[in-house]
């Protein structure tokens, strides 16, 4: 049983990272209806920035700040590009999804050429190999830090959505993009805001995960796919749901890896998506939506 506790604690830490990635995906999706496969790229570039900065300056905090800035800027630029057709009144979302895949490919390969392929760790804030003793194993303190920071960040997201001008505009667009336009909301600028917010969360997720997983150019896509599973679990229209979705996916993944044959975790994500889609397609925390015909 204490072994189970160990896997659950580690899973919560992993799940916190998935939750941050998923939050970015659903912030962008709920406002623009674009599935953003470049989210993993934002995480990768944030994590790499954090790793380089923290190794140079010996400070995790500086690294994390750098990751947040770079993540936000890259995501805002990506958002500017991807939402350009919406500005002209075209609305073929399928094509724009492929566009985000293109951005992910560009980020990945530019990093591989300009920086190289060597994985690099982020310097930890806390002593790396100390932690809470559970059974015969140690859960590093960093896993608790990941969960704590993530919960605080989700509080921040809730504040942005509840209290700020950007949040109100985002909610209005998510509700009905045409009505929001008619009401005089600058949809284009708001969507870039959504991308920037997603990039901020993604960059910080990269800084956090980079302490335990070395960051290289290729970590983006697997992270995007995991975040995607988490976002679907929590509800793509509900950024706050991503927290629940991420934690569930993280815990079930580590527990499955701990107790079942290793290969089972390869089909865990698709199985979870299939289950949610069969029972509650709007996600665990999602609102039911009526389809307009």
């Amino acid at each position: 049983l204490s072994q189970l506790a160990y896997f659950v604690l580690v899973g919560l830490g992993v799940g916190a990272v998935y939750a941050l990635v998923a939050a970015g995906i659903s912030i962008i999706f709920s406002s623009s209806q674009i599935l953003n496969f470049a989210q993993g790229g934002f995480v990768m570039i944030g994590g790499l920035t954090a790793a380089i900065l923290s190794q140079k300056t010996d400070s995790f905090l500086l690294g994390a700040i750098g990751a947040a800035i770079v993540g936000t800027l890259v995501a805002a630029a990506a958002g500017y590009l991807i939402t350009a057709p919406l500005r002209k009144g075209e609305s073929d979302r399928d094509l724009l999804v492929v566009g985000t895949i293109g951005i992910a490919i560009v980020l990945e390969n530019c990093v591989a050429e300009l920086w190289g392929r060597n994985p690099i760790l982020v310097k930890a804030l806390l002593q790396p190999w100390t932690g809470l003793r559970v059974a015969d194993a140690i859960v590093p303190w960093h896993y608790f830090l990941m969960v704590g920071v993530t919960v605080v960040l989700f509080g921040g997201v809730a504040l942005v959505y509840g209290r700020t001008d950007l949040g109100i505009r985002l909610r209005a667009i998510a509700e009905d993009i045409e009505a929001a336009t008619a009401a005089g909301i600058d949809v284009f600028r708001t969507l870039i805001g959504a991308f920037a917010l997603a990039g901020l969360l993604g960059g910080l997720a990269g800084a956090l995960v980079g302490v335990v997983v070395p960051i290289s150019y290729s970590v983006g896509l697997p992270l995007a796919l995991s975040g995607f599973v988490a976002a679907v679990l929590g509800g793509l229209f509900r950024p706050i749901g991503a927290l629940l979705g991420g934690l569930i996916y993280g815990v079930s993944e580590t527990v499955a890896a701990g107790f079942l044959p290793g290969e089972v975790r390869f089909i865990l994500g698709p199985m979870l998506i299939a289950t949610v889609m069969a029972i509650r397609p709007e996600g665990l925390l999602g609102k039911r939506r009526l389809r307009r015909v």
């Binding site: 999706f29 209806q33 599935l35 590009l81 991807i82 350009a84 057709p85 075209e90 073929d92 979302r93 399928d94 094509l95 724009l96 999804v97 492929v98 566009g99 895949i101 293109g102 951005i103 992910a104 490919i105 560009v106 980020l107 990945e108 390969n109 530019c110 591989a112 050429e113 896509l221 796919l225 995607f228 679907v232 793509l236 290969e263 089972v264 390869f266 089909i267 865990l268 994500g269 698709p270 199985m271 998506i273 299939a274 889609m277 397609p281 015909v293």
Partner: protein, 310 residues
């Protein structure tokens, strides 16, 4: 438009035949033939995607799963029942799995569909690893047999078989496009509600197109298995699903020549520019972004300067 033999032989099929003849006349090396066959394999699968995405407007992010089904069916059955039987089995398994998956996933629409097809692709990739006794796990299966013709080598035999299959797939695409089915599909892509109110059996046509695209993907997969002579899960992952999606988009989805143009840009160019390292992939990504943002009808838009097909 009424169907006529003359119109059918023209255009994209003539281009393929003429291109292949010129290619063979130049006395290509085995490596070049290998690339040509990869283009055929992805081209056949992409013809299915062009019908699915371009005619019916259905976005699938998991079709490499059907390529995997075709490739593994081929690799596992050819030692038992020979090439002819194995090919029939490839068509059968991809037809059945395509029909079943289509039945399940086409209950959803818009982004739900992207989500469930993505899950299907990831599931197949994971399921292969789940049964290592049968599939060899992540190590894959080596020494996969091929459709041997007379005394020809592997490369030459597979080239001839592939060429024949490409022509058949193109003929199918052309036949569907100018039949009542094709016009109904375009109506669905244009406006599903209006199409349904005019009596177009939407679900049936969508499931049918999905199944046909799955069969073509399965055939493409079995060609990949034959020329590489090796199958593994990483050959049929998310990146390949994206590639299948990208090929018709690059060419201009819905145009009959789109799979051919797309396969040249997305399969042949990256192979010929390997010396550029990762820059070539970065450029490939940039082209995707540019197409998505500025040229929704792909290369055909640039060639013809026309906005839309339907």
């Amino acid at each position: 438009m009424t169907w006529s033999l003359g119109a059918t032989v023209k255009n994209e099929m003539t281009v393929v035949v003429a291109g292949s003849a010129l290619f063979l006349a130049s006395g290509p090396s085995d490596y070049l033939v290998y690339i040509a066959i990869l283009m055929m394999a992805y081209g056949i699968a992409a013809i299915g995607m062009n019908m699915l995405l371009g005619f019916a407007g259905i976005l699938s992010v998991g079709h490499a799963g059907f390529m995997a089904i075709g490739a593994y069916t081929w690799a596992l059955s050819i030692p038992e029942i020979g090439a002819g039987g194995a090919f029939a089995l490839v068509v059968l398994t991809s037809f059945v799995s395509g029909g079943l998956v289509g039945l399940l996933v086409l209950r959803f629409s818009s982004y739900y569909l992207a989500v469930v097809t993505l899950a299907f692709g990831l599931f197949i990739e994971g399921a292969i690893e789940l049964f290592p006794d049968l599939t060899g796990g992540s190590g894959g299966i080596r020494n996969v047999g091929y459709f041997a013709i007379g005394g020809f080598s592997r490369h030459d035999s597979v080239f001839m078989v592939g060429l024949l299959l490409v022509l058949l797939a193109l003929a199918l695409q052309r036949g569907v496009r100018f039949s009542g089915v094709g016009i109904s599909l375009l109506a669905i892509r244009g406006n599903p509600v209006a199409a349904e109110s005019l009596g177009v059996p939407i679900k049936m046509l969508e499931i049918g197109t999905f199944t046909v695209s799955a069969v073509l993907a399965g055939i493409g997969g079995c060609l990949v298995a034959q020329i590489v002579s090796y199958v593994s899960p990483s050959q049929f992952g998310f990146s390949q699903s994206v590639l299948l999606l990208v090929i018709p988009l690059l060419g201009g989805r819905g145009y009959l020549a789109a799979p051919l143009i797309g396969v040249v840009i997305a399969v042949a160019l990256p192979e010929y520019t390997r010396f550029l390292g990762n820059w070539r992939l970065a450029a490939y990504g940039a082209i995707l972004v540019l197409i998505a943002v500025f040229a929704p009808n792909g290369a055909m838009q640039l060639l013809r300067g026309r906005r839309s097909l339907a």
